[in-house]
Symmetry: C2
DNA sequence: TGAACACATGAACAGTTGCTCATAAGTTGA
DNA sequence: TCAACTTATGAGCAACTGTTCATGTGTTCA
């Protein structure tokens, strides 16, 4: 890992970092991204995972699309979403691991 | 890194992860944590770094204390804050690196 | 073409967030 | 003890967030 200390002085970079973290800070979005980290999925599949309404999912997917975290392709009537950024997988895993440690949950 | 995929099904762990990310999702808090990642600091020093009011800093420090991300000790009139959790440093760095890459900023 | 299906979008609303302002609380030296 | 200094806190408020509800858009198949 490079020396990141100088990056703290670059407001644009700091802001961009906060935006990434913000995307991961909501329960529904985290679940969506978690599901997508295990493979691309359609909206109805994501709905099963998250247990919120179709509309709510779509709104969150729009936010994630706008921030460049997921990308979409159409397959007939369905729209298939996938992670647009490998970075996200890393952050999800690091965040989960740390949360699990704090909560004393064993990692396989 | 262990296999984290099972953790996505543990709502408590997922929620804990979102709370960590939430702490990192605000510009002021990110600056505070960034400054602290380079060593413990008093409130007035943090105020210089962040350029917001003393009250605003204190409110954010309270949130970070409540979430267990920073710890405080008194030194005379001053109160010295430091990171309570090594995890945070990792996340700050990973987030910054990724943000810098996205923004095509060179890392030393 | 039209009905059925899958997803997206806009408005509206309650809940939350981060700030300011005023003030309180803790510490030191005179 | 009191004034000066540093930090913390509560109330209040404008801005933002995540959801629901209603409806729109795009696609398939008969």
């Amino acid at each position: 890992m490079g020396d990141t200390s100088a990056l703290f002085e670059n407001d644009d970079v700091v802001y961009a970092a906060t935006q990434i973290f913000d995307a991961l800070s909501d329960f529904t979005r985290f679940q969506i991204l978690g599901a997508l980290s295990q493979g691309e999925k359609g909206v109805s599949e994501l709905q099963e995972v998250t247990n919120v309404s179709q509309s709510a999912i779509s709104h969150q997917l729009r936010l994630l699309r706008d921030r460049g975290l997921v990308s979409a392709r159409r397959d007939g009537q369905r729209v298939i979403y996938s992670l647009a950024d490998e970075h996200v997988t890393t952050l999800l895993n690091v965040g989960l691991e740390h949360a699990a440690e704090d909560a004393h949950v064993e990692i396989a």
